[in-house]
């Protein structure tokens, strides 16, 4: 440690308590982002009940329940399928705003105080949630324009989250410590989903709007914690740039191209197109677009699917769907660790997604046993959620810190914005397709659609997969040939 005050440090990477709190705060912050998104997907069945009278317009023989003020007063929709399509449109517009927002937020994040960007994003989003879910019910405002405008605004607000937290993490944690730390840290989205699902499940009985109230209030509390606690960069407290002290050992642990570039001492933000044309960025962006379509379809529609198919209550469906995220966390950590050991990411992603195909098929055909569904869901989550977690955090960080901009982390938010933004465009399209396919055909075909998307994801990274497999094979041959005496350490 060259300059700066003497803070107590731990571990070989000289982590201070600032590292711990940065990890915790960014983790918490992004978990809350996801928890608030999960809120909407987990109240869909209830909200669509609230929008409709007791009889579906398509069911002619249905007798309206009485008294009218209790059962038939709300006529926002008369038809279950109309309300399902509107829910799909809400998801799609949210994701469209979110993905456009990501490109912008990434650029903003590299140029303004990350703490304030994050705080404002969280606050705005929590206000939108309140207007969208709480005020509508309290004042009985069931209005498409109202819903759409606040959900679009929420999409923009939410887009500040990922680029900002990844950039803060990138500022604090050096490349050498990235692999496993980012692997564990990227569980934040899944933890957020679980947190959101639990919050909703525990509170849904009071009314769906209380679910929105709870998550928007907790989200705002999280924003205040970020405002009072987050330190965007070690430089802010006079600590040295972590990558500066690691320049000697950095080369050994780098995953992508090992071209040593002269270190840029004075970081300045890179341009959007410069970031876009970094090697691998476009390829992984496309790959992530396909994968995120599947991942978000699960995130947004799984409880609805379970409620629909097995006639489970929404609370039960929400609780069971948590297992998808549990699988995703494990998949991300284990996949990330293996990729650290192999020093190859694409091979792991390719394998995960290939194994996802049969698991998707089996899940689509599962019986209505809760245990069996939970198990299959965690398997699907392991492969799909795990691969998605790896791409969105670890691989994005690799891409944002590689070759030409090594040591210049002020490109990281922009690259994160590009990869996640493209991914979210895919996810947005998916939210349009899922209700359409399900309405026209059946849930079964939705799963076929997912399988096709997983294959497409794999196709996008075939060139990287082939290159890395060849490298792995060569490495294996060399190792087998030389048999080093004191076994090469992996890191």
């Amino acid at each position: 440690m060259s300059n700066g005050p003497n803070f107590k440090t731990y571990g070989k990477n000289r982590f201070t308590h600032f590292h711990l709190s940065t990890f915790a705060l960014t983790f918490l912050s992004y978990s809350l982002f996801h928890a608030s998104r999960k809120t909407f997907s987990n109240v869909k069945a209830t909200i669509s009940e609230v929008w409709m009278p007791s009889c579906d317009a398509s069911n002619i023989s249905c007798e309206l329940l009485k008294p009218d003020n209790l059962w038939n007063e709300h006529t926002f929709f008369h038809d279950q399928s109309d309300s399902k399509i509107f829910l799909g449109i809400l998801d799609a517009t949210f994701l469209a705003a979110y993905s456009i927002g990501l490109f912008i937020s990434g650029i903003l994040g590299d140029r303004f105080d990350l703490r304030l960007v994050l705080f404002l994003g969280m606050t705005l989003s929590s206000i939108c949630m309140f207007f969208f879910g709480v005020l509508t019910e309290w004042l009985s405002i069931y209005n498409k324009i109202w819903y759409l405008s606040f959900w679009i605004l929420n999409g923009f607000a939410q887009s500040t989250g990922w680029p900002a937290v990844v950039a803060v993490m990138g500022n604090w944690f050096p490349k050498s410590g990235r692999g496993l730390i980012f692997g564990i840290w990227s569980a934040n989205a899944s933890v957020g989903n679980i947190l959101g699902a639990l919050m909703v499940a525990s509170i849904l009985k009071y009314g769906y709007h209380y679910a929105f109230l709870l998550s928007s209030a907790v989200f705002f509390a999280g924003a205040i914690l970020v405002l009072f606690g987050l330190i965007p960069s070690p430089k802010d407290v006079g600590l040295a740039d972590p990558d500066a002290e690691h320049k000697d050992e950095a080369a050994a642990s780098d995953v992508e191209d090992n071209m040593e570039q002269p270190l840029i001492q004075q970081p300045k933000a890179i341009g959007f197109f410069q970031a876009l044309f970094l090697p691998g960025v476009i390829m992984y962006s496309l790959c992530y677009a396909c994968l995120k379509m599947v991942n978000y379809s699960f995130l947004f529609w799984l409880p609805f699917y379970l409620t629909n198919k097995f006639r489970w209550t929404e609370s039960v469906a929400d609780q069971i769907s948590i297992w998808y995220d549990v699988g995703g966390i494990l998949g991300g950590i284990i996949g990330g660790y293996i990729s650290d050991v192999l020093k190859k990411r694409s091979v792991v992603i390719f394998t995960l997604l290939t194994l996802a195909l049969p698991s998707l098929y089996i899940f689509s055909d599962s019986s209505d046993s809760k245990l069996m569904n939970a198990f299959l869901m965690s398997i699907v989550g392991f492969f799909i959620g795990g691969a998605a977690n790896m791409i969105s955090a670890t691989i994005t960080a690799d891409l944002g810190k590689q070759g030409p901009i090594q040591g210049n982390k002020d490109g990281l938010a922009t690259v994160t914005g590009i990869v996640d933004g493209t991914g979210s465009i895919g996810a947005a399209l998916g939210q349009l397709f899922v209700p359409l396919i399900q309405d026209r055909f059946d849930w079964f075909y939705v799963f076929y659609f997912f399988i096709v998307l997983c294959v497409l994801t794999n196709v996008c990274i075939v060139p990287l997969f082939l290159r890395e497999s060849k490298e792995l094979y060569m490495e294996f041959k060399t190792r087998a040939g030389y048999r080093p005496v004191n076994g090469e350490a992996d890191d």
Binding site: P5, H17, F18, S21, L25, T46, E49, V50, S54, E63, L65, K66, P67, L70, W71, E73, H74, F131, L139, S140, I141, N143, W146, S149, I203, K205, Y206, G207, Y208, Y210, L213, L214, A217, V218, A221, I224, L225, L227, F228, G229, L230, I231, D236, V237, G238
Partner: protein, 238 residues
């Protein structure tokens, strides 16, 4: 921003207020007939033997077309609309003030010129109805509302012996939801009322959200953690 949001709010409030008003005009209900005993649709004097008999037997008093229980707040115990030239049940019997007919045990609408029997809702509110005479001059045009689900003894044009529709298997095909239960509301009619502790639209809400405790816990813990974070983190920022 603030102006935008409040502007939106005002706009939407106004638009919803107007839209409900508009809807009310379109689906205006049939004018409620408040005067059950001397209704617009029946000006002739009472003629039903059965109602008169019942009234004498129980010690109630006849007043125009009603048999009233003077001791119990003038509650209407029986109604005689016999020979009133009623053509449609939906805008006559169906339009009676539902609060005034709750106590009615006998309804006689024989010898009218019925063309239309109304729907199930026509007889809603006759919670205590035990005898219904419905034979028309032209023959048996109208059925007993609720049929065997609501009556134990159905003879040609007369319905006797009410049963609770909620106890029969009627609700098997029009069931209330899990959070609500069936409450009898006249022959052929039932309401789905929220079970105890359930409320809100479609009884989807259960219990009361502990707003105070929630606000206190969240607020206080946020303040404490914020102070802690400030002391350990942001204080060092130069």
């Amino acid at each position: 921003m603030k102006f935008f949001i409040s502007g939106c709010l005002v706009y939407f409030l106004l638009s919803t207020a107007y839209s409900t008003k508009f809807e009310e005009q379109i689906v205006a209900p049939i004018t409620v007939e408040n005067n059950v005993c001397r209704p617009e649709f029946c000006k002739t004097p009472t003629i039903s033997q059965r109602v008169k008999e019942f009234c004498d037997e129980k010690g109630f008093s006849m007043e125009y077309r009603c048999c009233l229980d003077k001791k119990s707040n003038d509650s209407i115990m029986a109604i005689d609309y016999m020979g009133c030239y009623i053509q449609k049940l939906s805008n006559t019997v169906g339009a009676l003030n539902k609060n005034k007919i709750r106590t009615t045990e006998i309804l006689d609408i024989r010898n009218n010129t019925l063309e239309e029997c109304g729907n199930l809702a026509t007889f809603s509110g006759f919670v205590n109805l035990n005898e219904l005479y419905i034979t028309d001059l032209n023959g048996d045009i109208c059925q007993c509302p609720g049929g065997t689900y609501s009556w134990t003894n159905i003879t040609s044009g007369s319905c006797f012996g009410r049963k609770n529709i909620c106890g029969s298997n009627f609700s098997a095909y029009i069931g209330c939801t899990l959070n609500s239960h069936c409450v009898e509301n006249g022959p052929g009619n039932f309401l789905c009322e929220c079970k105890p502790n359930f409320h809100g639209y479609k009884c989807l809400e259960e219990g009361k959200f502990p707003t105070l405790i929630f606000t206190l816990v969240l607020g206080i813990s946020t303040i404490i953690i914020s102070i802690f974070l400030w002391q350990t983190q942001r204080r060092y920022v130069k």
